[in-house]
Amino acid sequence: MQLALIGVSHKTAPVEIRERLAFPSEKMRAALEALMERAKAGEAMILSTCNRVEIVAEGPSDELIRQFLYEYHRIGAEAVSDHLYCLQNADAIRHVFRVTSSLDSMMIGEPQILGQVKEAFRIANDAGTIGTNLSALMNRAFAVAKRVRSETGISQSAVSVSYAAVELARQIFRDLTGKTVMIIGASKMGELAARHLKRNGVSSVLVTNRTFEKAVEVAKVFDGAAIPFEHFTDHIDRADIVISSTGAPHFVITKPMAERIIKHRKNKPVFFIDIAVPRDIDPAVNEIDNVFLYDIDDLQQVIDANLKERLKEAHRAEEIIDGEVQAFCTRMQSREVVPTIVEMRASVEKQRHEEIERYRKKMKDFTPEQVAIVDQITESLVNKILHNPITQLKGMAHDPRGADFAETARKLFNIKPSSGPSGSEGTTGSTGRSSDDEPPV
């Protein structure tokens, strides 16, 4: 297997470059076909998202893929070559594993990338550009991504303001179902937070805004109730979660007001989220029992802590990937070495039988015992001669140079080159299967 990967990502190229190299999904099939033809690839796949464009191919040199990329997008080499990264074999495998596991993402641990890679794989598969090698690689990559996700905490904690708000609300309330959220001041951020809360079970939404029409408009989005700004204090007792984001220059909710609210609520806890700058809620409100106030900086602090945690977990994920890359390389190498051994044996054995047939006439006076002895001698000779090459090859099964070594052996013994296990079909039958996850022996 000769794997090459060429690409640009948010780490190496600005968006102006990335967008020029992107493959729109409707043209993906045609692009794949062009790639197979022009770069003479055995197998290929293209991943094109807003953060990265990557081509993985089995067979061609990276130079051919580069040429294809320049020609296809009608772009000069000088414009993009500095931004392109180009990886081979083990490095390419590692990169695929890291991308799929969301370790190379802009936001480490974000879950979308796995879906995007799966989609790219599906399109390539439909286009018929996936063979045993890439399918083995990608299936392993999906398994690795799953492992990373379940064994490390890289995508566990919230890293956006609205998710952090949901997570904190979950630490206060048993269950968000049946809870009421009030939005004071219809801002985009407030709406986003409310949307996340609603998706997580919050059942009713109250919206209040200085311009009542805007409140009505937002309330409609959430199936909620609009409340005139002058009266919001009459309704705020009902809210378990209050998101405030008005443009007011002074506090909208003061400490005495919060004290009154908590008294009316018979000490039922209330969660204030203040995402306005300047702040809407007096920070002293947090001192009241059963009242929890988070302003935008507090939320940011939560997010920063979570990010730090993710980075720590990313180290553990890298360790998992190191192991997986090694295991996968070994598997792929033994996929080449083992069939070679089998074919080598088969080929020499075939020659022995042919030779015996050739001398059959001259042996017609031999007694059956003598024929048996000839058979024994030749067989023993074959085994003796093959013993060293086979031992050496077996030893190379777990060596990175194993593939080259197998190739040399094939040349020496004049065995037809194979393109993976399917290339050796007919000779032995033991290597013809396309199962990817099991080593052939």
Binding site: G153, Q156, S157, E167, L168, R170, Q171, I172, F173, R174, K266, N267, K268, P269, N286, D289, N290, F292, Y294, D298, Q301, V302, A305, N306, E309
Partner: protein, 306 residues
């Protein structure tokens, strides 16, 4: 005054003959295996695994090894229950008259109660409090064990079967309540301080902690009350004289009971929840510990000595 009672009537001892046990059984290996001390030590070892879970959870700020710990706790419980059963057979009575016996009973009851709570609330982090307490109680039971101990004659009564289990079960419920209260305070502190750590995400929400604290109080308090009433009736019927109520343990448990009464009152009438209620629950449990564990240091019927 306890001394006076003991002076009047020598407690009778079972141990010189242990007539209920066939003497030769001592030679059978299974008899040795089933000896209370062996089982109790086995239980202690298993509870130690539970303790490890608690320590690791706090150290690594991560909920790990809950299930292995839980299985160890269940296995430990089976050993301990068998040990108590064996002791009951040995005494032909309910083994709660020695302090260590009541500790053992407390620990043995706390395990199933923990798992009942777990089934309802799914709070593995409660184990961080429950497992060490169970370990500690079993440890003390191990320390104090003396096969020759027998039931003080003054306590030979059917009331023992009512009074002691009610009180100890009440203590277990109140222990769950105080654990939930501490969980609440930790979680509340994390949320208020806005310095989030990984651990806090594994802890139950404030609402759950408060609810559990309240419910276990609502179960523990009546049990404790009934236990005390049965004690009063027992004292009355056994004609222990006019001064039984000056027994230190009786007085202490009355004060403890008052704290819990206050807590119930504030919760129901003043709508207290969360932090204040948690503090009062802790105060109440300090009273429980003083009554339960501290009774070694003062005299009376509850000294658990012969």
């Amino acid at each position: 005054m306890g001394g006076r009672v003991r002076g009047e009537e020598k407690f009778f001892t079972l141990h010189p003959a242990l007539p209920l046990l066939p003497q030769k059984s001592v030679h059978f290996p299974y008899a040795i295996i089933f000896r209370m001390l062996t089982l109790l030590r086995l239980a202690l070892g298993l509870y130690f695994l539970g303790l490890t879970h608690s320590v690791l959870t706090v150290l690594r700020r991560r909920e790990t090894f809950f299930w292995p710990a839980a299985f160890a706790m269940i296995a430990g419980f089976i050993c301990q229950a068998t040990a108590i059963g064996y002791r009951a057979y040995e005494l032909q009575s309910f083994p709660v008259t020695q302090l260590y016996e009541s500790f053992s009973l407390f620990a043995a009851l706390a395990v199933p109660v923990f798992f009942i709570v777990y089934l309802k609330y799914r709070i593995p982090s409660l184990g961080v409090f429950a497992f060490p307490m169970i370990f500690l109680m079993t440890f003390m039971a191990n320390m104090g064990y003396d096969q020759s101990d027998a039931i003080p004659a003054v306590l030979m009564s059917h009331w023992l079967y009512i009074h002691a289990p009610l009180v100890i079960l009440g203590y277990v419920a109140l222990f769950i309540a105080v654990s939930a209260a501490v969980l609440y305070l930790v979680q509340e502190h994390e949320l208020k301080s806005k310095r989030p750590r990984m651990l806090y995400q594994r802890f139950p929400s404030l609402e759950v902690c408060d609810d559990l604290a309240y419910r276990s109080l609502a179960i523990g308090f009546p049990l404790m009350t009934l236990g005390m009433i049965s004690g009063v009736l027992w004292a009355h019927m056994a004609n222990w004289g006019p001064q039984w109520e000056l027994d230190t343990k009786v007085l202490l448990s009355f004060f403890t009971w008052l704290i819990y009464l206050l807590l119930i009152h504030y919760r129901l009438i003043a709508g207290w929840r969360g932090k204040k209620a948690a503090y009062l629950a802790i105060a109440g449990f300090v009273g429980v510990l003083a009554t339960f564990v501290g009774s070694t240091y003062y005299s009376g019927f509850h000294t658990f000595t012969q």
